[in-house]
Symmetry: C2
Subunit: 465 residues, 2 copies
């Protein structure tokens, strides 16, 4: 069967507008934000408007052995959504309806193409709260964040995307439509495939509807930021905050280089504590959203900061100012990319106890390769984003950066950590899997994949080693 036969079969079962083969459209959907070039030779862009259309498209793909790449908004950072040669690009973006928001069930039922921030806003209107908040929330889709099990700045207190997914409607590779479990709060009938599909990066099934747990709206956020002479002191303060009582909703770190890069990109932002001391080695922000205990929480955060050598400690004036600070923090990756034109963005997670050792090890890697390595991220989760900025036009610099980057990942794994805490494996982290799982574990994962997708058409060559 030729590619045009496959397209013909798709056109026979889908509305005309749902099957796009123009080269420009395929090129536009070739790559996510990983910096890895996706293949421009995909067969077609399929844009289903319903579960039935997803099912029909997959049935054709399965019958013809055609690979399928499920895609959301292509905001991923690991190449998971990148196009593959001869593949169907299954864009779920047209399925973007919020089907219900139910305060009694405390859940929302949504299609995969809903933008995360749109859902956050819609539930907030009803006094409810959808906790997952990746830096990409304004542009990423619910389906994409389910595929990657996205984390973000509120995971320390409320968990990652998986913790908010109650039930899924999915389409298997052969077009079979299934619901993973009842939409109840608790359910233990059968094996629970829900959490397995979350984070599987489109390799097991295509999510067509998600039932998402909501929480009561939290209180107004209040936060305090501090500068430190070095990252080690900031890490000590962070550990003291994590072990000292109720968890902050957000606990973020930036080192001095990342801080300067963000200030260069966002000159208008006022980062509390920074102006006063200038050029600090590290910056830490801690946020509470518990109004009843906010006064005590902030006092405790400040005490921990002072105790561990803060140069300056300053509260955000109000929630608006705090949100500006957090928005600036979200610019870590673009800011570091702007420094030299290109960057490699790490996503390691470590046992919190090993963070200081990891950061010392980063310095050694940087010295060995003669490259700067900056670090920032969700220190409260032990999920750091080491960033290697380099001149994108210099092939030698790129080689050096990639070699150093591999060492950074191996360092994290050697300390009991993982190559990826929230961005996903995609294509980028495939070489790192062997550093984390032995061959028997990878073989088991491939058998599980085959149980869902015997012909191996769903996002082949991604996620699994």
């Amino acid at each position: 069967m030729t590619g045009s036969d496959v397209v013909e079969r798709l056109r026979a079962v889908l509305p005309p507008a749902a099957v796009v083969t123009e080269a420009a459209a395929l090129a536009e959907r070739a790559s996510d934000r990983s910096g890895l070039a996706g293949d421009t030779g995909a067969l077609a862009l399929v844009r289903p408007g319903s579960t039935a259309e997803v099912s029909a498209a997959l049935a054709v793909a399965d019958a013809t052995g055609t690979p399928v790449v499920p895609q959301g908004a292509l905001t991923g950072l690991a190449g998971g959504g990148n196009a593959l040669p001869g593949a169907l690009l299954l864009d779920l973006g047209r399925m973007r309806r919020i089907l219900s928001i139910d305060p009694v069930e405390r859940h929302a039922v949504v299609q995969p193409g809903v933008i995360v921030a749109d859902l956050q806003a819609a539930v907030a209107d009803q006094g409810l709260f959808y906790p997952p908040d990746p830096a990409s929330a304004a542009i990423s889709t619910i389906g994409g964040t389910i595929a990657t099990n996205a984390g973000g700045m509120r995971a320390i207190k409320y968990g990652v995307t998986r913790d908010s997914v109650r039930s899924l409607e999915v389409v298997l590779a052969d077009g079979t439509v299934l619901r993973t479990r009842a939409q109840t709060v608790k359910a233990v009938a059968g094996l629970d495939l829900t959490d397995l599909i979350v984070g599987s990066e489109g390799t097991l099934a295509v999510v067509t509807e998600a039932t998402l747990a909501l929480r009561p709206a939290p209180g107004t956020q209040a936060g305090v930021a501090a500068t430190f002479p070095d990252v080690a002191s900031a890490l000590e303060a962070a550990n003291a905050i994590v072990t000292g009582g109720a968890l902050p909703v957000t606990l973020e770190l930036l080192d001095g280089v990342a801080l300067d890069a963000i200030r260069a990109l966002e000159p208008d932002v006022d980062l509390p504590g920074v102006a006063a001391s200038g050029g600090p080695g590290a910056w830490l922000v801690a946020v509470t959203d518990d109004e009843a205990s906010a006064t005590a929480d902030l006092a405790r955060f400040e005490a921990a900061m002072h105790e561990h050598g803060a140069l300056g400690v300053q509260r955000a004036g109000d929630e608006r100012e705090l949100h500006a600070v957090l928005a600036a923090r979200r610019q870590l990756h673009p800011a570091m990319r702007a420094l030299r034109g290109a960057s490699l963005n790490g996503d390691v997670a470590l046992p919190r106890r090993r963070l200081a050792e990891f950061v010392r090890g980063l310095d050694a890697v940087a010295a060995r390769h003669g490259i700067g390595i900056s670090v920032g991220g969700h220190v409260g989760d032990g999920n750091l984003h080491p960033v290697l900025a380099f001149d994108g036009d210099d092939a030698e610099a790129a080689r050096t950066a990639h070699a150093a980057f591999a060492d950074v990942v191996a360092l994290a794994q050697s300390l009991g950590g993982t190559a990826t805490g929230e961005h996903g494996v995609g294509l980028e982290k495939l070489p790192a899997l062997a550093g984390e799982f032995d061959e028997r574990m990878l073989a088991l994962q491939r058998r599980v994949k085959a149980a869902f997708d015997p012909r191996g058409i769903l996002n082949p060559g991604k996620k699994l080693g």
Copy 2:
């Protein structure tokens, strides 16, 4: 290969005390607390003392095609731990060490035979908190609660066992020892098999070590209880509490029959609100563990109770009195069994919005079969335990009870609910699976099982349809 050959091979790889074949020992480990008789013809009781011994035993079982029933404390309520003919009973009870409690990682690393309450107490000594709290906590094991994804009275606020499991060391059917993921807070490398294994009732792998997430110790508990003329009013009050603000840590319902049965079993317990009104139709208790907002929380709970027709509303005098009340509530199953000598204990979960309709349906089922059906449980989760008490010596009464019980489960499923919210499928709920999953879903689950256990030796005939 005969059974005695298998035992001989086991003795060759395990210490003498780890392989027990005495009939009395096998009979003692034949049945859990489901009331279903387990087979007394097991081949041997295997009591490993280490992961290596579990691996050695499973390698023999796999090589010889011998079924294996993983067992904890046999406190399960669905027959999941019941013995099978010719099987090895793999008792994890000797692996009962708490390996570490780490306040920086906020996790505990434990062996599967640790008693839940022992872990709760050990972490409390360090100002930490292990939230899962099934009614059986004083006698059930961590391994058993992982196998069933146990819930309990604090799930409404803190989630079920799965929500507290970070990483597992497991042994596959063929003896392969694997770690499911890094022990970090976040990790998205590879498919996450952790949550799939939690709740799989021993059908996928044997858990030999668990890394469990801990929280900061909550505040002192404070609670309020109310009596109502009927269950419908109590359900309305419960929904008002759930939708009105921060979630209570516990929100439990008993109907009048269950209340009377518990008072008969525990005559000394003082149930707030009950003495004053006498013989109410329903009783509801709501608890907060947030000290900073306790005053406001209790006032809100009370207002919701009054608004929805409470006959009497009374606060527990202090935490000690409250704990006595909750301990009494935990006696639901024994109390109902004591009423007539035998009982069938349901474990349905429903969308909270459908609870009132479900309870009305229960009355219809009871009338149709001419049997009393009582109800109590975790109303805040929509997880109710309908109980059918009957004369265990009367075969006709038992038949009637089982027929009515099947109707109760089907009723829950017809309202978007599940046959089991926290007890598990085991043997008891196998016939109910078809009411909840179609054949394609059950076939997928069997393929996933086969990916882990190709010879099908792990707890065969349980959990999966």
